[in-house]
Point group: D2
Chain length 387, copies 4
């Protein structure tokens, strides 16, 4: 197995994009709990995101979501980010919260509504240009709740047409990243339900169209690391939305539900050349329904970092030898050895060497930041999915 | 196979309780769509529920949910129901929408919060007495999102204690019905996740404690009709919450996702003596997120009626003979024959004979009711899960 | 809705290929039960398959599986089929039952074993040419049981290379059809686990490479009809392996577990131009572990026929109108109306008009065929998966 | 967190029962691969089991399975075990491999077949008495493949009757342990599919009837540690069948598929008083389809030991404090800290102190045992599920 000292160069290259909406309130259809200090504006979200980076050195960018992060002046939002040591990243579109989209957006049978949805993406591309970011991410909530409600096939054709219109509007340095999801909010069929569908569409669009893999968007039993390996092989893995889940799209902290799965995913990322590769964006997409949000994000990027270290430590030569000899138990032992290695003390020491707190969770807790925002952010309307 | 004429006496006994909340707005965490005409008050919900009964003769009671249906005068609400030809039924408690319940209610480690949750159930029992209904239904949202967040075992003990306090408050003609659910809103562990847990608790409580089976609350692959048969055998099936789903707790119209499953469930209900049995309440628990609510409920009770007719038509003698002879294909053929029988024309004629519209969906559509409420119910706040 | 008379022309075009192995013994890892009369040779299997066609008019071809159906003279086997009124169809390869394939075949790291597996497919192509059939079907059991056991990415590259070698050997009128399967016999990763993987490979190969969709090979909750629609749209749906399941790859009789799912699948087949289309082969792939095999196959093709009739009866104009108006309940009603239509009497009458028994199950039972083969087929070794 | 030195006393109490069948050949319905050295007789299986104990000190007993381990003289088998340093343990019955049991055994509608199945269990009890062991374990494969094939309710009643007959035959120091399983080999309904059913039956039988929890026998998404906590609370957790799985009942090495799940299970075992408790038997039930069997068993018991150490190290005081304060992230941190602690070096040192090899896998590999049995065990018929 590699020694920790051998991998620090690679660890330095780690960058994980935070979702601005992780700092706002979220919840289930049953209840959204509020928390003192929750941001009221995109500027406050950016401020919180910058704090995560300040304590970890891992989160240099923050993704925004339109219209949740609509502001009058995106340059100002961008400068604010820079002033706090981070940058704005991916722009996420939203065509699921207007009344017009009740029965679809990019796949709607009504051309007026499709046009409206396409125009929303044009507006997102304008923002992308304004903030100088690269990726337009589309998670499409379109789908139906009842068999017969919509024409599955026709909707695919409309989707292809709408995506073409959006793709053709991209600048030469911009990308369209198409996320897939098994179900929710649609409960019978979803128009982009699986990686195969996303892959088929982005392949048809062109070189700057990629797939986004959200780790919580699969059917039970799906081997996610296989999809990672396959998309890397096909050259179409554009980004990750990291989170974890026990059941559906639970949006829990990455690594919380099945740490070994996260390890396996990261092993495939490394194997397939996706680590330290600017074409493969690491992002979080999580909901801190009941836990504190900023420390929740700190915990999350640390989880990714720790597991990345384990994946990098994997003794690939020994593994290959065991694989080639058909020694199942030896191969498994090499693999598990990396997973069970406790990298936490080494990481803490390394962080301190780089001027970061060895224990970012404790340092943040001691900083008084949460108390400060609870005191300062009084009045206004707390950010959430509806705002 | 029995002839349709042979089963009409049994069909007359069918009664399906409607959920008041089906008439209010519902949705997903991503969006709740509103509809013109949505009730603003429990009285308007009762009115809509009565309309479903008027067109179908199948829905003589409506369940209420506290606090969503809180009124100053429950006797008045009850009289309103009677005036429109129906009655109030099951009282559903709610301990998942107050901020205090963020980490639990009946299972909370803090005795003050448990007390508050128990008191809420006492208030529900008072309402039960006031409206002269029988069943207090508890769906407990308690659970945790992260391993370690709570002590699973200790919470079971607290739950048993809380349920005991509630059960002991019941009047001699009242019942406690405990619902189970695999997950949501809790995403790691749920305190009453399966029928076994609900059964263990109600068995410990006493004869008037029963299990509620919500058809959408199981893990993928669960054989629900087996649980129906088992709970009937154990004498603990208190009620159904009917709905259907393709994925999680989708709360679609009963029979929409898997009609054959509904058939199998109803066959076991009939086999186990649960049909026409006042101890086994048939209720709906659905969310009409995107379809019209009142016709959604009409469609739902008709689905149950049609499938009940098929289940009653099953040739049980022929089936038993095939089963005993080990003729798998013959048994299957008898079973499927009932399922594939088109009972719709017979049911329409029978409805007309009883003074009901042969096609309740068409009759309701022609009535102009939806237009009227859309015109009349202007202003105020539409009912939903938050109100 | 269309009248039955309107669809008989289409029904005449229905042809369902039977799997020769359905007539041999099958079972689970726990037990394979034998039955009197089970074929001992491929010739006897062909004879049984022909009987299914004789009673139904629906099954003009039978697929063979190599080496289970290895014979000295394939022309003789083919002539035997013709003599009994059917033809040989798809040739299925098998690289999962030789000791060499313990750790893979087309994906094995050892080039000698890959060569052996490729050669087996060459032999299958020779048989294909000899019997004058079109499709070489590859269901690849390759995969691993433990994380780390194999290199997922490298195996994909080897797979692509092996498939290329096989594809290039095909004659101009022959096709390679690549089946996918979530899991089993491999329990961690499978090299062709989903339609996306199969699609990526066949797209890379060329126009005569297609995907085979086995209805039992998906993760729980997968919307199979969506995949049908998508593959038809992409021009890559080569064939179906029909069966049904409640849990994993149960290989039950098609339509037995979820008849409504079969309906939805067939609706998409018709919508997408896959019905009556020679490019889309309908096949069965089932295991009659405990039920009688020949009547099991008769029941199966009848199930497909009945459900096809319902799918053809769907009032597509009314459905489109309801879809376009956003009337969810109306669209659902049109859809369900076709599903609930009892087509059995019409089909029986139509069969009789064509000189077939109205009730093929009863006619076969009355024929004494099962008794005859039980008497005649004594001695020898009953066919099964091992032979 | 506890220090390793604090838990060694508890670790000494660990005892894991091995399944004799793990040493024989196993596989899937597609193929059973043989291995040189596979035991031909129960005596050779016992010998292999003893070897696992010799290298680990963790496996003092071996479970037997009747008829797979039928011998003329059970006292001799027992003495052989003792001579090699272990003892015979649980007796497992088998009513799924005789032709009579095609449609059921303890639930069969034919009283003659039920009698036969009951008598088989009487024979198992006689063996139990002869070898001086305590537990009769019943995994009942009974079920049906098609809706309607059997009468679910009637079969439950027959099951209760059969279990009563068996239970009443037990000696005062013997126990009946009833295992449950979601599906396989039955593919529609299983007569003991879930813990609730097993619990309902054993509660009705008496104090010496317990539930066996096989970790691979649940629906996807089931929270297994919850069931552990619940059964311990109810006093009915009789034993574990440890293994792991990604999909169905894959029977992989325990801890291989989801190590964190194993950790959570063991935490609940400790919390609920099930560790070091003779009433709760730890057993393996695995199939080494493609990996070496003896080292597979060694790896398995080491996995359980390592994870038990982590579970014992959990800082329960800190956890309780975090839970009571509602600090989700702090509670999670305490929990994960124990999981991520690398106990392997401490365990190796501790093993050596006790006269065991620090690295049992390496020590066994160096011993030449596998080569010896490959040389010695030539001829005869290798043990497997059919023998």
């Amino acid at each position: 197995m590699a020694r920790f000292a051998d991998i620090t160069g690679l660890l330095e290259r780690q960058a994980i994009e935070l979702p601005s909406w992780a700092f706002g309130n979220s919840g289930t259809r049953f209840k959204v709990f509020g928390t003192p200090g929750t941001p009221r504006t995109p500027f406050e979200k950016v401020r919180d995101a910058a704090t995560v980076h300040e304590y970890t050195g891992l989160a240099p960018t923050v993704a925004i979501h339109i219209p949740w992060d609509t502001v009058d002046d995106y340059s100002l939002l961008s400068r604010t980010a820079h002033d706090h040591g981070i940058a704005l990243g991916t722009v996420n579109s939203n065509t699921f919260q207007d009344d017009e989209y009740k029965f679809g957006s990019l796949t709607h049978t009504d051309p007026v509504i499709r046009r409206r949805a396409i125009d929303h993406h044009y507006a997102c591309i304008d923002i992308l240009s304004e903030i100088g970011a690269r990726d337009l991410k589309i998670w499409l909530a379109d789908g139906t709740n009842y068999p017969g409600q919509g024409d599955i096939r026709r909707r695919q054709d409309l989707l292809a047409e709408s995506l073409r219109a959006i793709y053709d509007r991209l600048g030469p340095d911009q990308r369209l990243v198409l996320e897939y999801k098994l179900f929710e909010p649609a409960f019978y069929h979803t128009d982009v339900p699986d990686w195969g569908t996303s892959f088929a569409h982005v392949s048809a669009l062109g070189d700057r169209a990629m797939v986004c893999l959200d780790t919580g968007h699969h059917a039970p039993g799906t081997n996610i690391e296989f999809i990672v390996a396959q998309l890397l092989r096909l050259g179409r893995l554009g980004s990750f939305d990291f989170n974890s889940r026990f059941y559906a799209d639970d949006d829990l902290i990455v690594g919380a539900a099945d740490p070994f799965q996260l390890f396996r995913i990261l092993v495939e990322v490394v194997n397939g050349g996706g680590y330290g590769n600017p074409d493969v964006a690491f992002m979080l997409d999580q909901c801190h329904n009941i836990e504190a949000k900023i420390p929740g994000q700190i915990r999350s990027v640390l989880n990714v970092q720790e597991m990345t270290a384990r994946a990098l430590l994997l003794d690939r030569d020994a593994l290959r030898a065991a694989q080639d000899s058909g020694d199942v138990l030896a191969a498994s032992a090499v693999f598990m050895d990396a997973f069970y290695t406790d990298v936490r003390a080494d990481l803490a020491a390394w962080r301190e060497n780089r001027g970061l707190p060895g224990d970012p969770m404790a340092a943040f807790a001691a900083s008084g930041y949460l108390d400060r925002i609870a005191t300062d952010r009084v009045g206004g309307r707390q950010a959430g999915w509806g705002a």
